[in-house]
């Protein structure tokens, strides 16, 4: 059987590895059109990473968009009430944060939609960790529970705009501004201090859970911490324990997400390369009765991680004079390629082309050149 791996680029290798991982866990491939009705994104702009969408009018006059996101389409196009375990690799089109132009971004991910049992949530988290491990074993998966974050914010009894600012500060681990906002808005001192403690939690799950259990009492969030604790048990004895961190600064838009949320980091990549969570609230907004959890791996973040550069462009540069007999050339190439060599033919030596060796085809013979 032909070994294709040497012909694959770094991101192709990752895509195939992840697809194979998800398929082994019974997830089904999901293919979709590049286009979607614009209205879907217009109604759910906050769910998108950026609110810029490439829109166009199709032949029937309908306003369409090049897909900026996959999850919304999957939710829209799958039948409600049924259980779905799906994976995809799709290009999305959006303006990345901090950029000034649209980019085509390859995204690989999975969605688990349905009743959503504890086992489903554990499985998705397990697959997220395995996805990172398959790309680079030097990873950290940060996990949190939005129920805990919401309870902490509720306990402060602050106005909605202050609450929004506090949520942003939690994501930035911005303790000085949290302290200032809480003081200005008269939040109870005990709750403020507990919130500051909460966002300083960032350690392997075994250590962090004990800290969270104490804080859960202050915020009345015992259920959320219990669920987080139960979910993280999927990693017991896995060898991943040190790489799974509980970090309360992992946040997502609470209008769409609830429950477990997570972000994955790889050494050498400047930001999170994997992002996911439970999004029952999005399902509800889209009038679906099912629950759902999923994640995406952003391949654009991985470009700099793998080095596809080869020292040579081919094993051999074969110089063929203009009068070379085509049948002789074909037979020679068949033989060389059959021996496992990569061969570039040229009429004369191309100094830009990096070949391991150079040879000349003369009277049917391959004569090495200096």
């Amino acid at each position: 059987m032909t070994d294709w791996t040497s012909a694959l680029t770094g991101d192709e290798r990752i895509i195939f590895t992840l697809r194979s991982l998800y398929a082994r866990y019974g997830y089904m491939p999901y293919r979709m059109s590049k286009f979607e009705e614009y209205d879907l994104y217009g109604k759910n702009k906050e769910f998108l990473v950026s609110d810029s969408v490439i829109a166009f009018t199709d032949v029937g006059g309908k306003l369409m968009a090049l897909k900026p996101d996959v999850t919304l389409s999957i939710v829209k196009n799958t039948r409600d009430g049924d259980g779905h375990k799906l994976y995809y690799n799709e290009n999305v089109y959006r303006v990345p944060k901090g950029a000034h132009a649209f980019r085509e971004i390859m995204q690989v991910g999975l969605e688990c939609i349905g009743e959503l049992t504890q086992c489903d949530i554990c499985e998705v988290l397990w697959l997220a960790a395995n996805s990172l491990d398959a790309i680079l074993p030097d990873f950290v998966l940060d996990v949190s529970h939005l129920g805990l974050t919401a309870a902490a914010l509720d306990s402060l009894s602050v106005a909605d705009d202050v609450r929004d600012s506090l949520l942003k500060c939690i994501g930035e681990k911005n303790t000085h501004e949290i302290a200032a906002l809480c003081s200005e808005s008269g939040a109870p001192e005990e709750k403020k201090n507990a919130l500051l403690e909460l966002i300083s939690v960032s350690s392997p799950a075994a250590e962090a859970i004990a800290e969270l259990e104490a804080l859960a009492e202050v915020f009345g969030a015992r259920d959320a911490v219990e669920e987080l604790k139960r979910t993280l048990r999927v990693f017991d004895g896995s060898g991943f324990e040190d790489r799974i961190h509980v970090d309360a600064s992992v946040i997502s838009d609470m209008n769409y997400y609830n429950g477990i949320v997570f972000k994955g980091f790889l050494r050498g990549a400047p930001g999170s390369v994997l992002s996911g969570g439970q999004y029952d609230r999005l399902m509800k907004k889209m009038k679906r009765s099912s629950k759902a959890i999923g994640f995406a791996v952003y391949l654009d973040m991985l470009e700099r991680l793998y080095d596809d550069a080869q020292p040579f462009d081919a094993d051999l540069m074969l110089i063929c004079p203009p009068d070379t007999d085509p049948a002789v050339l074909r037979r020679t190439l068949d033989r060389l390629i059959g021996e496992g060599k990569t061969v570039r033919t040229a009429e004369k030596v191309d100094p830009e082309f990096r070949a391991k060796s150079v040879a000349k085809l003369e009277n049917g013979e391959v004569i090495p050149l200096e």
Binding site: K97, G98, D138, D142, C169, E172, R267, P270, G271, S272
Partner: protein, 210 residues
């Protein structure tokens, strides 16, 4: 390169003050303050490497992981909203983002207010919060002359002492937000160089800089 803690410092007085805080916190690199045009300095013993960069670029270096930590003004963080952790308020480089107008200016609310600024996002957010319709004129410098020449009605800009405003017959009308220098960290670096970054953040607090 990766074993070092890479620190982006803003060129100029704020960067020098920031470096003093880092040095006091146990991360000295005296060569940094020597005159010359070098931009990168290392102290192998302390495991730290400093870069001088343009103040408005610090957040970009940190967000994209070229620097693990850096010192950036709150104005830059509010304007560009980089995806970074904001770990400490260093309490230096204190100033404010303010609305300034020619002395005696009276806001005619029947008209769209024309605002000159380098900080379009901060200005838009501020006026949205008070429900005032504005027309932003984005300028890159000499903002103060915009109202004098009738280009705009007011400006939104950083005010330190107010001397430049006074010399141009402008006065502060409102404070948009107080500004100071912040210690920021790359989100991925925080996972993989946790000890070094937390040590700096802790030492900065101990050193009484905040």
């Amino acid at each position: 390169m990766n074993d070092f803690l890479n620190v982006a410092l803003p060129k100029g007085r704020l960067g020098e003050k920031s470096y003093e805080i880092f040095a006091r916190a146990g991360f000295p690199c005296d060569a940094l303050l020597e005159p010359g045009r070098r931009l990168i300095f290392e102290n192998e013993d302390a495991g730290v490497r400093y870069f001088w960069v343009k103040p408005s670029d610090v957040a970009i270096y940190v967000e994209r992981g070229a620097a693990d930590i850096g010192v950036a003004g709150k104005d830059i963080l509010l304007e560009y909203e980089p995806d970074v952790y904001e770990l400490r308020d260093l309490g230096i480089g204190k100033c404010r983002m303010a609305v300034a107008a020619p002395a005696g200016f009276r806001d005619d609310t029947r008209r769209t207010l024309r605002v000159a600024t380098k900080f379009a996002r901060i200005a838009s957010r501020y006026y949205a919060s008070i429900g005032r319709e504005i027309d932003i004129v984005h300028l890159n410098g000499s903002i103060e002359i915009a109202p004098i020449l009738g280009l705009t009605d007011v400006i939104v800009d950083i005010v330190e002492t107010g001397t430049t405003l006074r010399e141009n017959n402008l006065e502060v009308r409102d404070t948009v937000v107080p500004i100071s220098a912040r210690l920021i960290a790359n989100k991925a670096s925080m996972k993989f160089k946790t000890d070094a970054i937390e040590k700096i953040a802790r030492e900065i607090v101990k050193g009484g800089s905040v």
